[in-house]
Amino acid sequence: MNKKNIIPTKMLFFIAVLFMTLFLASCKKDEAVNYTDITTDGEMNAELTAPPFVPKPVGDRKAMKLKLNMEIKEQEGTMTDGVKYTYWTFGGSVPGSFIRTRVGDEVEFHLKNHPDNKLPHNIDLHAVTGPGGGATSSLVAPGHEKVFSFKVINPGLYVYHCATAPVGMHIANGMYGLILVEPEGGLPPVDKEYYVMQGDFYTQGEYGAKGLQPFDMNKAVKETPDYVVFNGKVGSLTNGNELTAKVGETVRLFVGNGGPNLVSSFHVIGEIFDNVHVEGGSTINKNVQTTLIPAGGAAIVDFKVETPGTFILVDHSIFRAFNKGALGMLKVEGNENKNIYSGTIQEGIYLPEGGTIQKMPGNSTAKATVPKRTLNEKIKIGKEIFGTTCFACHQSEGQGIPSTFPPLAKSDYLNADSKRAIKTILHGLTGEITVNGKKYNNVMPAQNLSDDEIANVLTYIYSSWGNNKTEITPEMVKALR
């Protein structure tokens, strides 16, 4: 009898603990709102936008039924000047159309596959709770339409992509985009919002190889892309396509990474992100320099622009930015704010040993004059200088980097005026110029080279890559210094 009583006591205690735990757990659960039960109020057609633009904010509207029409198109586009690529797109752009919803919305998704397309496609939206993120219900043959619907129950910024076999190839050809699920009441209002998405591309030719470049699946498997770009192509956010803002405005970027392979170290040169929705979720990190965006992931960043200037968006895995295309620009106009950024205050000469030129004893015959050099000598020395000083931007064959650094090969700008070329090296060059019909707007700093070195390197450049073989002498340089 006694023994029998002991067990129930123990059990009672156990049950009490169990209930306490459950009670606490349910308390905790109450903090996170359950959005599955939100009822929708009314119906409208979803606004879709091509990058870099986003639809207008949801504000404080109630959850609604959204009808969404998206057309899949396989189409030829431009990767960079002279390089074509067949993109597979959601809505005719890479990344695909931006979808903006609020939590609790019911989305009726009409996925249409254009009749001229060759392949079946589907869509996996990371914002969807359900098998395949919608992919199982949306496989659609060319010339057909599939309709499925889902309720968005988790606020955040999510990637969507095609998940038809071979999945990697569909993504590598540009089939990805972003869907935003705003919280109740919407995200805090800002002045400017933009849509930027990184992707890596694999072509049979190397970076810049002309013509229609087919997809290279071996490079894709090895994860060695030829192009890493924002918004589907080199120069999508430069050369007249810059994002813009005014001093004092707050800019929000919806940044995604379609992959298929690389992880992005997203950074804006000259800015610090005030707020980052880490991985596109609800955690907000403040004062971030570089945020990591996984393949198939996203982040919401915002920052107030305090000073005018051009701010460069990059993947800070930096060779991707300068050699593979992952570079964009945000142009900020307005009055300077010297409290925050002074600009160059003073240009002086820095000599650690003091201002006097010092000489080792016994070495009194300082080389004051430059020996007379033959043309071949000049070219030889000039080539070495080019290899250490110029090549990083203008590239080994003087081809430059499309829309960023102008070419020196067969350059009309160069051949038209050799004095201007000398001055450019001596004093640097800023602002818009036109080279071989293409506009460039960038900065080349003044180069710390002697008259003789400038004469040699320019002679080398003029004698190479189809230029007009002008010979530059140190005297010509000296006259312009």
């Binding site: 009749p115 001229d116 992919a135 496989l139 060319p142 010339g143």
Partner: protein, 258 residues
């Protein structure tokens, strides 16, 4: 005597081949191969010898058929046999409009393709037959491991509107067949025998074959992207569908009659 028999046999065989060619077909010898999907336990599939059309069926071929069988014309075909886009690029029931008579007929449903072949005393090729004949390049019966061959097939996905090209302009393969790659997709008799859920990663437990992940789990050669695409495409079809890139050709188990 033995020699005579040999010559006689040779004569018979070559006569047979000639006859077949006049009917627009060639003989494909029996053999076995491991398809990307559908082979249980990845064992080779045996394909008995068969005859296959040298070219896909053209617009003018199909026009003749429609004239003889008006119930397969654009306006009269029953909706359960073909959807609205059936022959949508033809001007009217018996007018090709701007379509090239020697281009392959596309935007035809599986029902119409099947009927066409039956009227010729033929049938649609099975998926295994089609894949078996299609793995040959100019010189070999199986070129699937050849890089250039796969690149050639893949490059087609990036060319637009190839369905407007006339037949017979791609390469002639080992069997003497043209246009297996580089022109259009083609219907097969059992196109939907392998199920691709559309979610190529999943299709593992339930359908065993072609969803996304299981696509790779069950595939025999992960690098065979070209074949992946064909199976994925077939998986998206229904028999009444018609798409602009999809045509067909006919096969026969027996020697075709002229």
């Amino acid at each position: 005597m033995k020699k005579n028999i040999f010559i006689f046999t040779f004569f018979l065989v070559s006569a047979g081949i000639l006859q077949a060619q006049e009917a627009g077909m060639v003989h494909v010898k029996e053999g076995s191969f491991v398809p990307l999907y559908g082979a249980s336990s990845k064992r080779p599939v045996f394909v008995p010898s068969f005859y296959l059309d040298i070219y896909p069926v053209t617009n003018s071929d199909f026009l003749k058929f429609v004239k003889k069988n008006p119930e397969y014309s654009k306006s009269r075909i029953k909706r359960i046999f073909a959807e609205k886009s059936y022959l949508s690029y033809w001007k009217s029931d018996y007018d090709l409009g701007t379509a090239h008579p020697k281009s392959p007929v596309t935007s035809v449903s599986w029902f119409a393709a099947k009927k066409y072949c039956e009227c010729q005393g033929k049938r649609l090729a099975t998926m295994d037959e089609w894949e078996y004949a299609a793995m040959a390049d100019e010189k070999r019966t199986d070129a699937r491991t050849k890089k250039e061959f796969n690149e050639y097939i893949l490059s087609w996905y990036e060319k637009s509107k190839t369905y407007e090209n006339p037949i017979g302009q791609t390469f002639k393969n080992y069997w003497g067949i043209y246009d297996m790659h580089g022109l259009i997709w083609e219907w097969t008799a059992d196109f939907n025998s392998i199920f691709l859920s559309g979610e190529s990663r999943k299709d593992k437990s339930t359908d065993k074959n072609l969803f996304c992940g299981s696509a790779s789990v069950n595939a025999t050669d992960l690098m065979d992207y070209a074949a992946f695409m064909r199976y994925a495409f077939r998986g998206s079809l229904k028999a009444q569908y018609s798409t602009r890139n999809l045509g067909f050709r006919c096969a026969s188990s027996t020697k075709p009659k002229i």
